[in-house]
Symmetry: C2
Subunit: 191 residues, 2 copies
């Protein structure tokens, strides 16, 4: 998505060889017009998938996910992230390991908000090692719902998330695909 | 806001005399069309205030705030909530005590995203004891920004938040005002 790539070039901050900070338009400060455009693009990419519900993880997934949900005219659910939890029968839970923070969080979805047989689209801000998407896949599986794809805002193709999801046959659409960071610059993957 | 009151009557779950669960359309599952309508209503209510930026707190404030930001054509910033933190010079920090959870969290905003002299609109999902709004006010004050008002999705008028904010001369606009819960039903305050 050209608009997003331009924005990353203009406002993204590369830190070392693995980290891209986009906190001035995506995950701390948020550009609402860009979120709307991204939501419309995800809706276009998955328009034939007969989606019943969007699933994301708080907090950075919420803005792109809610605009995708608006464009597809379906509800959006954001999984809650918790470090500790009291297990109950009311929730689906999956573990998500963060390589950046080197800690495991639980993600939690109320059983009322994901139903057997539904067609679910996952949305997330970043695809790096694929752990958050993997956690959402586990929750959908526990609910006997079908995940029809994952819409990712920014994919880092040099990390292992894409391969992990491809192995499971998941359709993944990323709005920007980054192949490397070189000398503080972002190198996008060829389309 | 009639649309929101109807939705609370239909889908809100009253628990005891103080708690309203709206997790099926606002703070776990999210109705995107309702969020868009609420954002447009907040924009209408504050249209003459020359707003530069929207400030909210993750996670439940994000959806209403991003649609308000879209309608007003300004950026939105969500404060990060953390239980523990490493203090740095890069962030504004305020403490927010949760009466429900009986714990104190810190809310954090990067200093780049709130500037001296700016006109800020606060958005939040609930006004009960006013602690989250109070925390955002402290951050704006530290940044020497001016808070022109607070847009609240659901206000519980029987708790002390409104009085706390009125004392400070803050303009507060709530889309639904709840005066009491009686026999599991929601009693709205007169307009």
């Amino acid at each position: 998505m050209k608009l997003l790539e331009e924005r990353i070039k203009q406002d993204g901050r590369v830190i070392g060889t693995e980290v891209l900070k986009v906190d001035n338009f995506l995950n701390h400060q948020v550009d609402p017009a860009l979120m709307e455009a991204m939501g419309q693009e995800f809706a276009r990419l998955f328009k034939d998938e007969k989606i019943d519900r969007i699933l994301t993880v708080e907090s950075s997934g919420i803005a792109p996910a809610v605009f995708t949900a608006l464009a597809l005219n379906v509800p959006m659910v954001f999984a809650r992230k918790k470090q500790s939890l009291t297990l109950t029968d009311d929730n689906y839970v999956a573990d998500v390991y963060s390589f950046t923070k080197q800690e495991t969080n639980h993600i939690i979805v109320d059983k009322r908000f994901i139903q057997a047989g539904e067609r679910i689209l996952l949305i997330d801000d970043f695809l790096a090692n694929g752990q958050a998407v993997q956690g959402m896949l586990e929750i959908a599986k526990a609910a006997q719902a079908e995940v029809v794809g994952a819409g990712i805002v920014i994919e880092k193709t040099f990390q292992k998330g894409r391969a992990l999801l491809n192995e499971q046959g998941l359709k993944v659409e990323s709005l920007a695909r980054i192949q490397a960071f070189e000398d503080g610059k972002v190198i996008f993957a060829e389309a």
